[in-house]
């Protein structure tokens, strides 16, 4: 049972880390800090506006695929993977 507890802790740690980034790029850069970031030009965009309408979405995709990869490793380490073939 200890193994399952550690697995859950590792999972929670990863999720907390990723959700922090999720919050930072969307609510942080796209909403709370948008006026400050808008002072910075970024490839023809204002930086804050770019985060709000483009950047945050790209980061969202990256976050999920990173999570998929990391969880696969964690599943293996704790031997709880559902992938029989590998």
């Amino acid at each position: 049972m200890q193994g399952e507890k550690d697995y859950w802790q590792a999972n929670l740690k990863l999720v907390a880390k990723l959700l922090t980034i999720w919050f930072l790029v969307s609510f942080g850069f796209g909403i709370i800090l948008v006026d400050q970031l808008n002072q910075i030009p970024f490839f023809g965009f204002k930086l804050g506006f770019w985060w709000a309408q483009q950047g945050s979405i790209y980061v969202f995709i990256g976050l999920i695929f990173y999570y998929v990869r990391k969880m696969k490793q964690i599943d293996k380490t704790f031997e709880v993977s559902d992938d029989e073939e590998e």
Partner: protein, 591 residues
């Protein structure tokens, strides 16, 4: 061939494809009907989820809304994509491991009570019907505008198609049709966007074109030029919003967690073989959705720029043909307030309400608007929904692109409608009949009830599409607010809080639901005149109140659960079980 015949051809071809898939994938068991036997490949499921998720609103309305809201349109872009991160990290893998047929199944087992299941069914049906009425309406609009078929017959055709593949094929039919529909709709969205980006900036990728220089020799970027033009006309800058920060924050959050709590989206993750596939499939879904969602802000900005430049200070006799054709179906209205024969475009409503037209046309051929004019200098009324549909005409693109957009709009509306109808019918046949009222049903009988429920649901949806209650557009906020405030917190706590019991979950759901419902009903229906920032609680609009509802739900659930008896050991064991990916079975085996 002209645009109209091409549109008939494209719509006919795409519909034949959907029906062909329906016949090929006829469902033979409840497991196939409910979750496609849990055998869908994660990439296919990603596409199906994307088509399921992207409705007529995403395809037809969103770019137009962004075009007119500018930065404030961000709430939809981030809100309707960021929810997938929550779904992938917090819900999808665990619900897949749980491995049943429906979302109310989870409530019934995790909260060990029929009342929890029934509360979930009620939330699900209210949310889904709100949504599906809008889809059927979207089908009707596309038919009436592109094919000159009355909305009534447009909806009937749409209903028959959905009937074919949803009732016959169930989840299996829907999944593979949605894969095809995704391909149609994304192609139809990207082609005009690429053309317009090329036309305005010379860059074929709209996401980059949005930041590029306009190729008119001024050296300004698209967004700079748009800001300058709009400020000159008296609007606020495109890249800066007018909504308060707290409201933007609350609406974005409500849409995100609402997305993660929508039953027709969640149930898609029941269809993949393994827990790891559920995670992957959420990633692919977002990738496929983001293709459209990162293009939409570019389409919005280009369309707004094009729109202003084409009409402002242009005399009616010289204005582009699309202006006149959309005017003739009443989605554009022009009142020449200063009698100079030219169209002036400024902020504010040009006249009160939607345009109503006199029988006779004015000498220059324009339609006489009979509404009472406002003080504003603005002379133009424009329905935001026309932006995407009119784009090919505004950019003078070839007829086949216009036909493609019509087929794409239909694909978006039909795929979402089918997904919604399926969760409605499964919750009736499985959760209400099999699990609550008639426990002895055989698999065949249950399948019969599922088909019957799907058929009835389609008829109701069709009726709502043909004869929509006036408030359909207004109640969209309901769907997300209710999902955010009721279903999402209860599922989240069911997975992450082992101590959560039925008393906590049910009281939390009830409070969240009643709170949001009352807030929305009060500001939208009881006292719409008070619906402004001065009267909102914490400055949060009814669209964003789901965020507060969700917090309220969480707080009450946690408090009540700690004051009442712990859940039985078998339920705690179930929670431990769903946290571990190993041993995920297809729903057939576990049922």
């Amino acid at each position: 061939m002209d645009a109209q015949n091409l549109t008939y051809l494209f719509v006919f071809l795409s519909f034949s494809l959907y029906i062909g898939i329906a016949i090929w994938s006829k469902a033979g068991s409840t497991s196939e009907f409910y979750v496609a036997s849990g055998g869908v490949h994660p990439i296919a499921n990603g596409m199906a989820t994307a088509a399921d998720w992207m409705s007529a609103a995403s395809f037809i309305s969103m770019a137009g809304i962004i075009a007119f809201m500018g930065y404030d349109g961000t709430v939809y872009l981030m809100g309707w994509t960021g929810g997938y991160v929550i779904l992938a990290l917090l819900l999808a893998p665990y619900l897949r491991k749980f491995g049943q047929f429906t979302v109310p199944d989870f409530f019934g087992s995790r909260y060990y009570s029929t009342s929890a299941r029934v509360v979930a069914v009620i939330c699900l049906i209210v949310i889904s019907f709100t949504y599906v009425a809008g889809q059927m309406r979207g089908v009707g609009i596309v038919f009436s505008q592109f094919l000159n078929i009355p909305i009534f017959w447009g909806v009937i055709v749409g209903m028959s198609i959905v009937f074919m593949y949803a009732v016959l094929g169930g989840m299996k039919g829907i999944t593979y049709t949605q894969v095809a529909q995704y391909c149609v709709l994304i192609f139809a969205y990207l082609v005009p966007a690429i053309f317009i980006s090329l036309m305005i900036t010379g860059i074929p990728i709209p996401q980059l074109g949005l930041g590029a220089e306009v190729n008119d020799g001024t050296g300004l970027s698209v967004l700079q030029k748009l800001d300058n033009t709009l400020i000159e006309l008296g609007f606020s800058a495109y890249t800066e919003g007018v909504k308060s920060k707290i409201d933007v924050f609350a609406i974005t959050m409500a849409l995100m967690i609402g997305t993660a709590g929508l039953p027709h989206v969640i149930v898609r993750f029941f269809t993949v073989p393994k827990v790891s596939d559920a995670r992957k499939s959420a990633g692919y879904a977002l990738l496929f959705i983001a293709l459209l969602y990162t293009t939409a802000p570019a389409v919005g900005a280009f369309a707004r720029l094009n729109f202003v430049e084409t009409i402002h200070n242009t005399s009616y006799t010289q204005v582009a043909d699309w202006f006149k054709s959309w005017e003739s179906i009443g989605l554009i209205g022009w009142k020449d307030k200063n009698q100079d024969g030219k169209i002036q475009y400024h902020p504010g409503a040009p006249f009160e309400g939607k345009p109503s037209f006199a029988e006779d046309r004015r000498p220059d051929g324009s339609r006489e608007v009979t509404n009472k004019p406002t003080e504003s200098k603005n002379e133009v009324y424009v329905d935001r929904d026309i932006m995407v549909l009119a784009n090919p005409e505004i950019a003078a693109l070839p007829a086949w692109v216009i036909a493609l957009v019509a087929a794409g709009g239909l694909a978006a509306a039909l795929s979402t409608a089918a997904g919604l109808l399926l969760v409605i019918s499964t919750s009736v046949s499985h959760d209400l009949m099999k699990q609550t009222l008639a426990k002895g049903l055989t698999d065949r009988q249950e399948l019969f009830f599922a088909r019957l429920a799907a058929a009835v649901a389609i008829l109701i949806a069709g009726y709502l599409g043909i004869d929509p209650p006036g408030f359909v557009a207004q109640v969209v906020a309901f769907a997300f607010g209710l999902a955010a405030a009721s279903l999402f917190p209860a599922i989240l706590l069911g997975i992450f809080d082992r101590r959560m019991n039925k008393e906590g979950a049910i009281s939390g759901m009830a409070c969240g639901l009643i709170f949001c419902f009352s807030y929305i009903v009060f500001f939208k229906f009881v006292s719409p005149e008070l619906n402004s920032a001065d009267h909102w609680w914490f400055g949060i609009s009814p669209e964003g109140i789901g965020t507060i509802g969700a917090l309220l739900n969480l707080a009450i659930s946690l408090a009540v659960s700690r004051l009442t008896a712990a859940p039985p050991p078998s339920v705690v064991a179930l929670v431990d079980e769903i946290r571990i990916p190993k041993g995920a079975m297809s729903p057939t085996n576990s049922h």
